[in-house]
Amino acid sequence: MTIASSSPPSRLPAGGAAEARSKPRTRRTEGGERRGDGRLAAVFIAPALLGFLVFLLWPTLRGIYLSFTRFNLLTPAEWVGLDNYVRMVNDPIFWDSLTVTVEYVVINIGVQTVAALAIAVLLQRLTQSAMLRGIVLTPYLMSNVVAGLVWLWILDTQLGIGNEIISALGADRIPFLADETWAIPTIALINVWRHVGYTALLLFAGLQAIPNDMYEAARVDGASEWRMFWRITMPLLRPVLAVVLIMTVIGSFQVFDTVAVTTAGGPANATNVLQYYIYGSAFGRFQFGYASAMSVALLIVLSAITILQYRLTRAGRTDLG
């Protein structure tokens, strides 16, 4: 730190800085300063780099290593080659949980994207109110645990207000979270409730980048709001939409908290999503190697989806300008 504070230009008057730079003597001190930068940079980067290496890079490599071992935390990891992967391929519960996860992701992302887009467009075309944007964001402040519990209560078969309304309308009560067919869609929609505002604001930010005179011009030409949406908003929003989609799909695949507090994987494994199965294998049955192998599988699925989505939606390119 003393190295940096010893930089000599301090004596020079403001106007002389550029002049002084041309002199060879100052150039040498500038070189010294750069070396000083290097040492200072090392100090400044050290904590973050330590965190990165120890808690991100090392675990990533170790996770891959562990997936080739039998490991129960108590005895040292024992190399078993591809055993965990062979077991995974032959494990019907793994395939079930993957199917359930995909079902969750499709419902969650499908509904969320459409709803977020609708909210974003309404926010842009109706009003720019910051308060409204704030309200839309409120569920995002809740933890998944809180969101799960609130909806568990609202959708309760006996006393939940949701079912009270349904029965007041003359329909049969729906055991939303206790029924095999309803459980996954219900959990997916609960998470839509929590995340849709955040997604909408991301899309809203994308909408803000579309020049307003495009809408003005279209309106002069007599275009309807509906037509403007399909001809202006959608094409110009596409790159942003693609990035948001990639982000939300990756997040969606990692569903865990809501399942853990509402259904705990049940009924009859109907909501045993991949992360829940991984967690159970590791902490319920202490099969850390097998759990790691499934994490690697999840990582591969996510990478593949990301690349595919990026390609399909040409996320890198913009139609603007």
Binding site: I45, A130, I135, L141, S143
Partner: protein, 308 residues
């Protein structure tokens, strides 16, 4: 379609105005519905928390609290004796929510404070200092953003266990304490936009790079730093999976985990909804207050946080 009814473009506007209110009214109705779905659950938490369990059973649809009482909160905060709690429909087992609240505050503050500071230091090194290999290291950090968190959780647990930090607050905080690739990336963007002249002027005044970081760069970037801080605080406060893995006992239990345990303790038949919703409110309220203080700033910068 409106254009069909009029032939000149000058009369187009009034016609559009006459036609528009239908669409606008429909749009506002949808917007109102969205606000309702968004906010109603919050009211329902409050209404339930202030009711008695007996009252909820007798009158489930009453929009107001049934038999207005704070008994649910007393139960959640462990201010009721076991017999009293069971009589009110709660579980006899005690959960010390004050303690979990304190744990949550400690963990979130530790993570947010350290992560912001270390990430800011790194961002400064990446944006305002010149050194060899800078771009390569930064590229590595960026690649770190792509690794899904689930993937590092199991190996990190093994590591924390080997460090004998399981069931400690430090163990919960450690993995995210030093940096988040996103935080570094986010702050670097702002630091890069600080004009060179400002830095040069400070250099001429005899300030060193360290002093420039503390006296010039940090104050100039205070707005994005506060925004990032609030978002980090909310994220670490709401985290459930990692604390669930790491904490086993009261000493390191945070609110999200405690809440799930509170739920698991209540009997499957005749759940203590009043107590559960009171506990939910206790867990959620601090973030609502925090958000209320910074709402405008956060809302207007969300776009930036998500997409560069």
């Amino acid at each position: 379609m409106a254009a069909v009814t009029t032939t000149t473009s000058t009369t187009l506007r009034p016609v559009r105005r006459r036609r528009f209110p239908f669409g606008r009214a429909a749009a506002w109705t949808v917007m109102g519905l969205i606000v309702l779905i968004t906010l109603l659950p919050f009211y329902w938490i409050l209404r339930t928390a202030l009711s008695t369990n007996a009252g909820l059973n007798a009158d489930p649809t009453n929009p107001l609290p049934v038999d207005l009482t704070t008994s649910g909160f007393e139960r959640a905060l462990g201010m009721q004796s076991a017999e009293e709690a069971v009589a009110q429909g709660g579980a006899g087992g005690g959960l010390d929510f004050w303690r979990y609240l304190l744990n949550s505050v400690l963990v979130s503050t530790l993570i947010t404070g350290c992560q912001l500071f270390f990430s800011a230091m790194a961002a400064y090194a990446f944006s305002r200092l010149r050194w060899r290999g800078r771009d390569a290291v930064f590229g590595l950090f960026l690649a770190g953003m792509m690794v899904p968190t689930i993937f590092t959780l199991l190996p990190n647990f093994v590591l924390i266990k080997q460090l004998h930090l399981v069931d400690t607050l430090l163990g919960i905080a450690l993995p995210t304490m030093f940096m988040a690739p996103f935080a570094v990336f986010f702050l670097r963007q702002f630091f890069m936009n600080i004009p060179r002249e400002v830095e040069e002027a400070a250099l001429l005044d005899g300030a060193g790079k360290v002093k420039i970081f503390f006296r010039v760069v940090l104050p100039m970037a205070s707005t994005p730093i506060v925004t990032l801080g609030v978002l980090t605080y909310i994220t670490s406060w709401n985290d459930y999976f990692w604390p669930l893995m790491v904490s086993y006992s009261d000493s390191s239990r945070v609110l999200t985990v405690a809440l799930a345990i509170f739920r698991a303790q209540t009997p499957a038949t005749g759940v203590d909804w009043s107590g559960l919703m009171a506990a939910t409110l206790i867990a959620a309220l601090p973030m609502l207050v925090l958000f209320a203080c910074f709402a405008r700033r956060i809302v207007s910068s969300i776009g930036f946080t998500g997409i560069k």
